[in-house]
Symmetry: C2
Amino acid sequence: MTYAQGPEKASAGPPGRPVADQPLAAAAVFAALGDPTRREVFERVAARPQSVGELAGELPVSRPAVSQHLRVLKDAGLVSDGPAGTRRIYRMNPQGLDHLRAYLDHFWNQSLAAFKTAAEQPPKESRK
Amino acid sequence: MTYAQGPEKASAGPPGRPVADQPLAAAAVFAALGDPTRREVFERVAARPQSVGELAGELPVSRPAVSQHLRVLKDAGLVSDGPAGTRRIYRMNPQGLDHLRAYLDHFWNQSLAAFKTAAEQPPKESRK
DNA sequence: CCCTTGGGTAAGCATAGACTTACCGTAAGT
DNA sequence: ACTTACGGTAAGTCTATGCTTACCCAAGGG
């Protein structure tokens, strides 16, 4: 992280928040799931819808930290939430994983194509 | 990131390097692809096998930076390399994406299960 | 109506890690 | 062999971000 401003795709102007671009979505998912704690939060929510406090009680981080992680996950389309009385229940949202799937398939095909190309040309030093 | 040492699964002792655990692999892939520059490097390599210098020439970062990114990608099983004369050609390695796919499928099924469970119980306020 | 419970937000700190420049191997070309 | 090209590694800098505590708002229950 840290630097990284060069080749990012910057959809258009500077909107207040990213909305729902297709290629950007995958980026958000990777960024969100890249953090171990956040991935842990996601996995627990995916296993069973839970409230923030419930999650915080089982994790080694504070409740605000969990709340912040959930916000990132939500922005990435990985979880959704809804009020349940005074609580707020977070559940998994398959949409985020959908973007991942799309990204995955894209490169899967590329890998096959590259493989085929490499198979056609004898692997004797491609080009020195 | 930064903190994050709590709920990580820590396979066994402290090996010099992680080898090839299944659940850890997905984590490595997410961590690797979480960085925008590194994702860019990966995408370029996936599109066409290239040398380090070639990549560095097209990217806004220095050659050592690219080299370091490639190392991370390689450790995550996302790229593989081989010598070609004085150069070193990096190409995409589908194995890393395989781990991603496995992770994906796992949670996809979970989402379906949760969905079905939710559908059985009338969605009238889950539990107040 | 208070009071309790649950959770989002603000402000601030500390560190992981993405960069840089400098240096040193190793393989080819002449 | 010398020289050049290519790349990996070392050391050090700087910032994005994950964490904390403190504060505040909203929804129920008595």
